[in-house]
């Protein structure tokens, strides 16, 4: 009965709608499930893609998409669990191999499964917002294999162990490593980071922490840095071989932190091999390595810079304050230049021409050069030495190079006006004695100073050159006009110097011999005749003369002497013996100069054209002088120098200082007035800073002096104090 009823019911239903075979879905899924098994078992050759695709299509079409999808998840999970077991069973080193092989298999299978289920991926997965098949396959692999409790830690330990072994020098299978890390990356960047990268970085940090501790105990700085550099490049190479490129920054920062940043101070200050010693020994390679490594860590370069700076200041201080080294100004400056060259070379060779290092170098030089207030004088003397004619082995080109270097030192000087003072003196001497190496070189030095300090700085120096030139013209004019009258008398060369342009000298006149006096008077008449309204004074203390002398045996010599010496020698034309007093009376040369002249005429061996009674080194008031009949020399021309001090003596120095201070006063006042004129009202401190900044290019004004100048200006009613606020100054127009 019941069977019949059932049949009736069936017929009833059949009339209403066509029911799909209820087993259809199950049957079709079995076919697909079987295919998935076959694919995982490497047995896919017997499968027909068209049939499988059609089956999957039909399932989706008949709304069995959900069944198909869950079936896929279950089947794949089952297979991967099995794979997990076989990977777990792998012994020792075969573990990674097995994992790699299975991963390759899974990828291939996943590709084929996705091909079959492509229609589902396109329609059902898309519209129901499920995970696409490929991604699903990766996720199931991740959850069942990589995150399986028996595999996760083992995999990580093996990877870290392999890397550790490679770090200690063993050769490992990099291809396998690359495949495994590639797998972790394929599974998503978070898997790579969490399951590998993070622990990898931690292990690396502790490895390098231990290694750096050991190395620093037994290596010197250079060796340590060589090893650190090698480690760093090893890690970079490792990343390029089998890690994610994004890991490079992270692992290098670990190495940098552990090996460099943590030991920075100790490395730099290491005895006998630290920064100071490599600087002293010019070890460019070590320096460059240190620079490149320290650059990678925060504060690395500033550490190097600070140490270099303090070392440089220390050595510089010794250079400028060592009394032994102050004896010879030329050596003094040469030492400075050598030091500068040395560090320039270090910065360009090892420090990549780093600007901050150059600045540090400059500030250090500025610091210690100005520690010694004789630096301006010495630098000028050094230039004088280089620009003097007749120095052996110095060509014009070489001089030019030297001058450029000197300018560098010049820039560091704070008291540029002091330098100017000395330079003027030295230049005057060079010009008047005609000992300048060449006009061009002199001028190029002036141009350099001009570009550095402006027109004002050099206008007087240029005036000196102009004077020299016009003097030559004047002399030509003089001889052209007076040719007939002069006849056979002595030849006169006059240099007309503009007062003010030249360093002022105490005017110490002397009685010129009659022959000379006559021709001098002729020149005076000529000059005043051509230039009206001028005054001419003779600076006899600065001239030179060439005189011809005949001695006892009839030998003739040409003596090159100063004007004073000439006056003395001319006296002996008429007599053979003169006392000191007689000479002083006849010439009226100031006693200090006279003594110096007589000393050089009578006491210098080989040049003693006079004989002194009694024979002694020093000149006394009651000495007598004879014409030295027996004077001989192998040269026709004999140059009798004056005993002249190159370096300034202590009182001279004081005098120059004082003159400089005197010259500064109007400059400071001018600056104050300029500033107040534009600002009208200012407080004291602002004026001081503004004045300082305005005058910085010439010298560093002392605040006390500025204060004095302000007071003086108030007295002279250029400024007044504000009535309400005594700190304020007010400009009075």
């Amino acid at each position: 009965m019941s069977a019949q009823k059932k049949r009736n019911f069936k017929i009833e239903a059949f009339k209403h709608r066509v029911e799909l075979d209820p087993n259809y879905a199950e049957r079709t899924w079995k076919v697909l499930e079987h295919a998935i098994h076959e694919i995982y078992n490497h047995n896919a050759s017997g499968l027909s893609f068209e049939e499988l695709y059609r089956n999957a299509y039909n399932m989706v079409l008949h709304k069995y998409g959900e069944k198909l999808y869950t079936g896929l998840v279950n089947t794949m999970t089952g297979h991967l669990k099995e794979i997990a077991r076989s990977i777990e069973a792998a012994q020792g080193d075969f573990f990674l191999e097995e994992l790699n092989v299975k991963w390759g298999d899974h990828n291939k299978a996943l590709q084929m499964i996705r091909d079959i289920l492509m229609y589902m991926d396109r329609t059902f997965v898309h519209s129901s917002h499920k995970t696409p098949v490929h991604e699903l396959g990766l996720n199931i692999w991740r959850d069942n294999i990589i995150h399986s409790s028996k595999i996760q830690t083992r995999l990580l330990d093996m990877l870290l162990d392999l890397i550790h072994r490679e770090r200690t020098g063993e050769v490992i299978n990099r291809g396998l490593m690359r495949n495994i890390t590639k797998m972790l990356m394929d599974l998503g960047s978070s898997v790579y980071q969490e399951d590998f990268e993070k622990p990898f970085l931690e292990v690396s940090a502790s490895f390098y922490s231990v290694e750096s501790q050991q190395l620093i105990e037994c290596c010197d700085c250079g060796e340590y840095l060589r090893k650190a550099e090698r480690r760093l490049s090893e890690e970079i190479e490792r990343v390029s071989h089998y890690l994610d490129v994004k890991s490079e920054v992270k692992i290098t920062s670990v190495v940098e932190g552990e090996m460099i940043a943590n030991h920075m101070q100790r490395l730099v200050h290491m005895e006998n091999s630290g920064l100071v010693s490599v600087l002293v020994d010019d070890k460019y390679e070590d320096l460059s390595r240190m620079y490149n490594l320290f650059r990678r860590v925060p504060n690395g370069l500033s550490t190097i810079k600070d140490v270099m700076n303090s070392h440089l200041r220390e050595t510089g201080k010794q250079l400028v304050s060592d009394p032994e080294k102050l004896k010879d100004p030329v050596d003094f400056v040469q030492n400075l230049l050598n030091e500068k060259d040395k560090y320039d070379k270090i910065i360009s060779k090892a420090f990549n021409n780093d600007k901050t290092f150059q600045n540090a170098l400059n500030s250090s030089f500025e610091y210690f050069i100005n520690l010694n207030n004789r630096s301006p004088e010495f630098i000028s003397l050094y230039v004088d030495d280089k620009l003097r004619k007749g120095l052996k082995g110095v060509s014009e080109e070489d001089v030019e190079v030297v001058l450029d270097k000197v300018m560098m030192l010049f820039r560091y000087l704070q008291e540029k006006d002091v330098f100017e003072k000395y330079y003027k003196q030295h230049l005057a001497k060079r010009l008047l004695s005609g000992k300048s190496v060449s006009d061009d070189t002199e001028r190029s030095m002036i141009v350099k100073l001009k570009t550095e300090c402006g027109y004002q700085f050099t206008s007087k120096l240029e005036g000196m050159f102009t004077d020299m030139k016009t003097s030559v013209d004047t002399m030509q004019g003089f001889y052209a006009s007076q040719y007939s009258e002069i006849g056979d008398g002595p030849t006169l060369a006059v240099q007309v110097l503009t007062t003010g342009s030249w360093p002022t000298q105490p005017n110490a006149p002397c009685n010129l011999p009659a022959e000379i006096h006559v021709i001098c008077e002729k020149f005076r008449t000529y000059y005043l005749g051509t230039h009206t309204g001028r005054r001419l004074t003779w600076q006899t203390n600065m001239g030179t003369a060439d005189i011809k002398a005949t001695f006892g045996m009839g030998q003739k010599h040409e003596l090159n002497v100063s004007t004073y010496q000439m006056c003395i020698l001319m006296l002996f034309n008429s007599v053979d013996r003169l006392t000191y007093g007689e000479i002083e009376q006849a010439t009226e040369i100031p006693p200090s100069d006279l003594k110096r002249c007589l000393q050089s005429l009578a006491c210098v061996k080989g040049k003693n054209v006079l004989r002194k009674e009694p024979m002694s080194k020093d000149i006394a008031e009651d000495d007598a002088f004879y014409f030295n009949d027996k004077f001989t020399s192998k040269f026709i021309k004999v140059k009798i120098g004056t005993v002249a001090a190159q370096k300034e003596s202590e009182p001279e120095k004081q005098e120059t200082r004082q003159r400089v201070e005197e010259d500064r006063k109007p400059q400071i006042e001018a600056a104050i007035v300029r500033i107040m004129k534009s600002r009208r009202v200012l407080d004291h401190n602002t004026i001081v800073t503004e004045v300082t900044s305005q005058l910085q290019s010439r010298f560093l004004p002392n605040p006390v002096v500025i204060k004095k100048r302000i007071e003086s200006l108030i007295e002279r009613e250029f400024l007044e104090r504000d009535k309400a606020d005594r700190k304020l100054y007010r400009y009075l127009a």
Partner: protein, 450 residues
């Protein structure tokens, strides 16, 4: 199997086709044909001569396969007149070639070469509110509380609604997601805004507005979807005077900002919002008849300021018929101006560079005949696409081109009554008629053969 010289033989439903591997390569690896020929499914490479006779059997319609094979060969789609489009699309989906079919169906959009390809009638009661074109050629139509969704094959999907509340505006976030703004139902917390799946119609996310850390229900009005920074803007009205513009992130769905309505500006009731990518600001237009005084402003959300605004308040003294009222507005970034339209279908332009400028009207109304006053009409709408300006009037759409906006084409169809809304997207133009519930689809045909 791939025989010599790359020839491949298919047997599709009993009919033999021969083609080459290079032709099939056009299908791509991620298609059924691509997978079929892939090495992983053909493990044994054919030995000499042995497999040359073999063929791939596919149990499908041979006629459709012929059309699709032709598409792969030439890149063009020619459907025989007796073949239903639906049939072809189904077969294309089977082979994974639907994207290729769509790409070959119509060409890049050009307002002057449009052809009417279809008219689709709906069965919704009442007038349509809005029609929006999707990025892939589909569209959706809002009627009352329902939104009807059509894919690019113009097949209707499940209609969507937000708690059956009156829909004010709709927009596509992408081809898969549609956002709806709807009226709030008093006291129920319904309405507001939601994102729906365009294919299944399910609600995926509901947008919230919170004022001072308190979530409040709201009525959402006009929508704008910023394309460059993935934001959604909507005009919002709360019941406690929380009027303004809400901003949400398209990806997270979270509220990121709220621009409260400053005095003198109507933001919560806006008719149109438009995000200007170049200026990084939002145009808000609140127009007649929603308000008596039209207001158009540009909002900068970074410092919450109205950087530019225009209003006809003060200029309109009497409500005479002849007066020109701004009924729709659209910003044209390239020409630094806002284009507006009035009840006579006159176009006007407001310069964005000066703040106090007026509307420069063009005098087109003299050329076109004015409507009979009692004919039921719709308010005109404006749209731009690729340097072309579109304006709907009565039952037609005018196309304007060039720097002077010269009228170049008119799109008109004989029935359906006047156009209440139109939209351009996915290289198609959709126009919704008000009298009969029907919308038209306009496409540019593929490029000529030569």
């Amino acid at each position: 199997m791939a025989s010599r010289r790359g020839r491949i033989r298919f047997n599709v439903g009993g009919k033999i086709f021969e083609t080459t591997a290079t032709t099939l390569a056009n299908a791509g690896r991620h298609s059924m044909l691509g997978a079929l020929l892939d090495d992983s499914w053909n493990p044994r490479q054919p030995a000499e001569g042995e497999a040359a006779e073999a063929e791939y059997f596919i149990d499908r319609n041979p006629a459709c396969f012929a059309v699709l094979l032709d598409l792969l060969r030439t890149g063009e789609l020619h459907v025989p007149p007796n073949m239903p489009e639906k049939l072809l699309n189904r077969e294309a989906l089977f082979y994974g070639l639907l994207d290729q079919v769509r790409a070959a169906r119509w060409g890049p959009f050009d307002g002057n070469r449009l052809q009417l390809v279809d008219s689709v009638s709906g069965r919704a009661p009442g007038d349509g509110t809005a029609i929006r074109a999707g990025p892939d050629g589909g569209c959706c139509v809002a009627h009352g509380s329902m939104v009807h969704v059509y894919d690019w094959m113009l097949e209707e999907h499940r209609p969507i609604s937000l708690d059956y509340q009156q829909v004010n505006d709709v927009g596509y976030i992408d081809a898969e997601s549609i956002v709806i703004s709807a009226r709030e139902r008093l006291g129920k917390g319904d309405g507001g805004m939601g994102v729906f799946s365009s294919s299944t119609g399910e609600l995926r996310h509901r947008f919230r507005v919170s004022h001072y850390d308190q979530v409040k229900s709201f009525t959402a009005g006009a929508l704008s979807l910023g394309s460059s920074d993935y934001k959604i803007f909507a005009s919002c009205k709360g019941r406690c005077n929380e009027y303004g513009i809400g901003v949400w992130d398209q990806i997270t769905g979270q509220q990121v900002d709220f621009f409260y309505e400053p005095p003198g500006c109507c933001l919560g009731d806006a008719d149109k919002l438009q995000w200007l990518d170049g200026d990084k600001c939002l145009m808000v237009a609140t127009l007649f008849p929603r308000t008596d005084n039209c207001f158009i402003g540009l909002l900068d959300f970074r410092d919450k300021s109205v950087i530019w605004s225009w209003s006809d308040a003060g200029t309109s003294v009497s409500l005479s018929l002849d007066e020109k009222r701004v009924l729709h507005a659209i910003a044209i970034e390239d020409s630094r101006s806002i284009c507006v339209v009035n009840q006579y279908d006159d176009l006007g332009f407001i310069d964005l560079r000066s703040n106090a400028g007026g509307v420069r009207w063009s005098s087109r109304s003299k050329l076109t005949n004015r409507k009979a006053p009692n004919e039921e009409s719709c308010y005109p709408k404006l749209a731009t696409h690729d340097g072309q300006l579109f304006s709907s009037m009565n039952d037609g759409i005018s196309v304007f081109c060039g720097p002077e906006w010269v009228l170049t084409s008119t799109l008109r169809r004989s029935y359906g009554g006047s156009i209440c809304d139109f939209s351009i997207g996915g290289d198609r133009l959709f126009a919704l008629h008000s009298e009969e519930n029907v919308f038209d689809v306009w496409e540019t045909p593929p490029s000529p053969i030569i």
